[in-house]
């Protein structure tokens, strides 16, 4: 590296800074656009949730069964969309009695409402690799607006993974049993893995 000795230190650092900035900019600009396409949500995704309780702690768990798809519009991220269907009977908390309670007509009423459906209505880019997703959430026959924040976590030849977070007010869907001991807000913490379809 003979040139290094001939360049002034300030010039070297300036070039390095430009080079890094350029690389980062290219990566940011391309992160979502390059991932354009249709994806099927993989069963290996993780749909985690938690509900706080008075005095600290709470209930945490996940859902084992779900399906869905999303489409990333490379030219206009805002025209991307997502459809997601959750099977509430597949709820897991590590305590069988809690799961029975959640499946009963106290909360999910899975006998009458076997599916919870989210359909996006708008996607707004919030950063180089993140987006705000609004949509309609239907549970127990009631539909209300719900919003989630999605961040690109990983992308490879096989697919793409988003970290998705959001909060849902459960009383809107007639699932307010247990309040105020258990919070009315359900925190969703999900890893949605999509494979190109």
């Amino acid at each position: 590296m003979p040139n290094q000795t001939t360049m002034s230190p300030s010039l070297t650092s300036t070039m390095l800074a430009f080079a890094l900035f350029g690389l980062a900019g290219a990566a940011q600009a391309d992160a979502l656009a390059e991932a354009a396409g249709k994806y099927r949500i993989e069963p290996s995704s993780h749909i985690g949730f938690s509900i706080g309780q008075v005095g600290g702690g709470g209930i945490a768990g996940d859902f084992g069964r779900f399906r869905g798809s999303f489409r990333i519009d490379g030219r206009n991220i805002g025209r991307s969309n997502v459809d997601f269907t959750l099977i509430p009977a597949s709820v897991r908390t590590g305590e069988a009695r809690v799961e029975t309670f959640l499946r009963s007509d106290a909360i999910f009423d899975v006998a009458n409402y076997p599916e919870i459906v989210f359909r996006s209505t708008s996607v707004t880019r919030t950063g180089p690799d993140s987006a705000h997703i609004e949509g309609s959430l239907t549970a127990r026959g009631r539909t209300h607006r719900a919003a989630f924040e999605a961040t690109l976590e990983r992308r490879d030849a096989r697919g793409i993974t988003f970290h998705v977070q959001g909060q849902v007010i459960r009383s809107l869907y007639g699932m307010d049993a247990g309040t105020p001991i258990y919070s009315n807000l359900v925190n969703f913490n999900m890893q949605l893995r999509g494979s190109r379809s």
Binding site: Q53, V54, G55, G57, E95, R97, V98, T100, F101, S104, D105, A106, I107, A177, G178, P180, I181
Partner: protein
């Protein structure tokens, strides 16, 4: 009269006694009711009310014991023989102990339950769990213990009530009146001494 006297209980003791009676009857119903309703949401609500009233009974029982310690106890009514008096004291002592032990057993039940449902008395105060280890076995043990102690309390309290009614309706003495809110119409010495004028 707020304080106990030597021939009858004061208003404070009377008020706490009858409040605990009412709460205990409500507690038995609230404790049994979840098995009578199908809705798990209603079962949950009923159990939370049961826990709230349980903590209230425990607080009142402690208050009653403190009050009892600070007051004179009414003397043995002349209407009662020594055997009856001893039996009455054993029954009353058992009820004093049970009104503490039954709520404590309920508290142990929620403290050992693997459900970990917090105790939020009347949706106002978080009551911390007792420092006990949680397991299905411990929860079952305390559930059965709490349940049978409550049944035993109901049986002893029924005996206590029937004995009081026997004195009032059959023997016609003033024993029941000692624990009745008299509002200035306290039993006289003659009432309680009707069967046996000689005092102890």
């Amino acid at each position: 009269m707020l304080r106990n006297r030597d021939n009858c209980y004061g208003m404070v003791a009377i008020l706490i006694h009858w409040t605990i009676v009412a709460l205990f009857v409500a507690q038995m119903l609230l404790g049994l009711a979840p098995r009578w309703v199908a809705s798990m949401a209603q079962q949950f609500t009923l159990i939370q009310w049961h826990k709230s009233f349980g903590f209230l009974i425990l607080a009142l029982a402690l208050l009653r014991l403190v009050w009892a310690a600070l007051n004179t106890w009414p003397r043995r009514p002349a209407a009662l023989g020594r055997g009856e008096w001893l039996a009455a004291k054993i029954v009353q002592g058992s009820l004093y102990a049970l009104m503490l032990i039954v709520p404590l057993a309920g508290w142990a039940l929620v403290s050992t339950s693997t459900l970990r449902v917090p105790s939020f008395a009347f949706d106002l105060i978080v009551i911390p769990d007792l420092p006990m280890s949680r397991s299905d076995a411990a929860e079952t043990f305390w559930r059965v213990t709490h349940q049978w102690l409550a049944y035993a309390t109901a049986a002893i309290a029924t005996g206590h009530m029937l004995a009081a009614l026997r004195h009032h309706l059959w023997l016609g003495d003033g024993v029941l009146k000692r624990m009745w809110p008299a509002w200035g119409n306290e039993p006289s010495g003659e009432d309680t001494n009707r069967r046996e004028p000689a005092r102890r």
